[in-house]
Every structure is written in C-alpha cells, then in structure tokens.
C-alpha cells in the first residue's frame, strides 16, 4: 500500500507526475479525474518530449459536456504517478484550457490497475496494485 498526500483545500486533487520520452523527461502537475476513462496529456507536452502525432496509435474522440472533439492516443515510454510507474502507457493527447494550469488529467486507465481509496478530508490517496 502506498500513500500520497494532496492539498485538500484545493478545488482539484493535484498530483505530481513524471513522463519520459525520446527527448528527456518532464515533471508535471495533473489532476486526478475518476470521471475520465483515459489519462489525458496536453499535446504540447508530448511534442516537447519528442513524440509526434504521426506516432499516434489511433484517432480518438473526447466527449465532454460541451461536445465531442478529436484527439489521438499514443503510448508514452514511461509514466510515474502516485508512487508507481508504467512503461508504454497509453495517453490521450488533447488540449486543456491554458489558464486552468494543468498539464493533464490522470484517468481511470491508470487507476484501474489498483484498488484505491481517496480520503478527501485527510488529503490522502492510498493505492495497492490489484
């Protein structure tokens, strides 16, 4: 069981994450999003790491309350979050509003590897590999 602390006073559950690509690695801040089926990363972050839309595994559509927008998915070399890391991890490349300040959303395709508990008042997430 691993525990990660977050600031429960914030509107979002903000997490430190780390991504690796052909051009290095980037530490980023993502929001935990149990309403997102996939993990989402800004395309610019992926571009800066040396990924290219031509490397995409496929085209995706991102459905939000505001409509449906196209995106693409690709496997990132390595992703670290909440004390665990995975190789060749599938992420969806899609923009977020710049002023929201997020690099991405950590979605259910990451979380479903685990049994987990979000203790909102305490500001703690506990995970164990399922």
């Amino acid at each position: 069981m691993k525990s990660t602390r977050f600031d429960s006073a914030k509107d979002l559950i903000l997490l430190w994450t780390r991504l690796w690509g052909p051009l290095g690695d980037r530490r980023c801040v993502m929001a935990l999003d149990t309403g997102a089926s996939d993990t989402l990363i800004r395309p610019d972050i992926l571009d800066g790491l040396g990924y290219n839309p031509r490397d995409a595994g496929g085209v995706t559509t991102v459905t939000t309350a505001l409509g449906v927008e196209p995106g693409y998915w690709l496997p990132v070399k390595r992703l670290w979050a909440l004390g665990f890391e995975f190789n060749d991890f599938r992420v969806n490349a899609h923009d977020l509003p710049e002023d929201c300040g997020l690099d991405g959303l950590l979605g259910l395709n990451f979380l479903r590897q685990f049994n987990y508990e979000v203790r909102s008042k305490e500001g703690v997430i506990r995970l164990e590999l399922a």
Binding site: D11, G24, C28
Partner: protein, 76 residues
Amino acid sequence: MSEKITWNQIRQRYPDEWVILVDLDADEETNEVFGGVVLGHDPSEKKLIKDTKDAAAGTSAAILFTGEIGKGSFLF
C-alpha cells in the same frame, strides 16, 4: 544559464505564467519540484514549449503553471 531559485521565488517573479525549469531541485520519491533554473517563461504554454524545445531536449525538466491551478473555473 541563470541562477537556481526556489518555487516561491519563481511564482513571485513570473506570476500567472507557464515556466519550464531545468537543473531541478526535486524530491526523487514524490517528484515534487521545489525549484530550479528557469529556462523559459510565457503566459502561453504552447509558445513556451515551442520556444524552448531545442534547449530543453535531453533534459530532465518540469513544466509548471505559477498561478492558482483550476481557480475560478470548473473542470470536468
């Protein structure tokens, strides 16, 4: 290359901007970033990453927003 400064100093110098930091002062277990050398800063993350792509290649860097994340807007 400029000086290494703390995250609080970075937030004061570049309010409500995106920054890319290298030569990081970070916790290797939690990946929390406490400071670093500011390679670039800009209100637009897209422009920042485009402008620093060559300089940041091959580095361990952090791309962070100095403002209040998610403040005043709903994200879903």
